[in-house]
Symmetry: C2
Subunit: 189 residues, 2 copies
């Protein structure tokens, strides 16, 4: 079984950057957006369809008991297949997509959760993504809600519960660089 780092992260916490930097240090690939693209290619879905039915699906869709869950389940199944195949190919970092759950019996995992205070995340989103700070609060709350609902729906695990991860870090408090250092060191040892 390959050694895989899975990174769950709060929106705006820098989890994707941490994943990329860690992968670079370890000289292994990092999958995030690329993963979505692979899913798309493999399944013939459009990007819009995946966005609507994937991790960022609106909670009203997630809560629906009717027809709308169909698209989501197809995207989920396809996504599980891609993640499993990537994990078989070799050591890597996978950001998001419930990879920790999908690979729980298929790889040797280092399960990471990255979070940060609301203030630090808002700051990061405004600075890095150049978004206006007027609607930031609503956007962060909505994203948090969606990820949490999505995670719970498919994994039955409480999103953000420390006990689901080998290591959980506050990137706002510790800094991106220190997080990368800790994860890299844990992976090597």
């Amino acid at each position: 079984m390959n050694k895989i780092i899975t990174i769950s992260r709060e929106f705006g916490s820098g989890g994707r950057t941490i994943g990329r930097e860690t992968a670079k240090k370890l000289n292994i690939p990092c999958y995030d957006q690329e993963l979505i693209e692979k899913v798309q290619k493999e399944s013939g879905f459009t990007k819009e369809y995946i966005d609507k039915n994937g991790e960022n699906a609106s909670t009203s869709i997630l809560n629906s008991m009717f027809g709308t869950t169909f698209g989501r389940d197809i995207v989920w199944t396809s996504q599980c297949k891609v993640i499993s195949r990537l994990a078989e190919e070799g050591p890597c970092v996978i950001v998001g997509r419930c990879a920790d759950y999908v690979l729980r019996e298929k790889a040797e995992l280092l399960k990471v959760f990255i979070h940060a205070s609301y203030e630090k995340r808002a700051e990061r989103i405004v600075t890095l993504y150049g978004e206006s700070d007027t609607a930031i609060e609503k956007r962060i709350k909505e994203k948090d809600k969606r990820r949490s609902a999505y995670y719970k729906y498919y994994t039955e695990i409480e999103y953000g519960d420390a006990r689901n991860y080998d290591v959980a870090l506050d990137s706002g408090k510790l800094g991106i660089e220190k997080c990368v250092e800790i994860i890299t060191d844990l992976y090597k040892n």
Copy 2:
């Protein structure tokens, strides 16, 4: 404000050992049982009274709306005072007792949560404390329940939620020594 490490921990996760080893490395004091003794001396309570009304209070007492909460609130108030005084005295490690919450505005905190799988904890308790493994499962579950209820009652924070801590570590997976190393390094930097 002094730099304080607070360690919340699951029963049997080795959190107390990690606290002590970290404190030794940093050459600062570590308070756990000693803290209880200080509370006792200061308040005139007996050890039995504190055991009954402190962190290990049974959940039936915690849920009670009547007279029995009285003893617990007195122990809590006294405990808060002792923790605050210790934090004023100088840098230290404090294990348990909701110190992260008590000191949230009174010290520069490094908030740590230590957890481990049920199996690893049972193994540790049987090996280190010499307890029989027949009643271990019930004991761990009961302790988890009590700590969680106690924490929530006084802090309104969800026990074990990664977002309440700067760093959360699985001591069963990473090992006691690695946890000490990470915390020591984070404290120094």
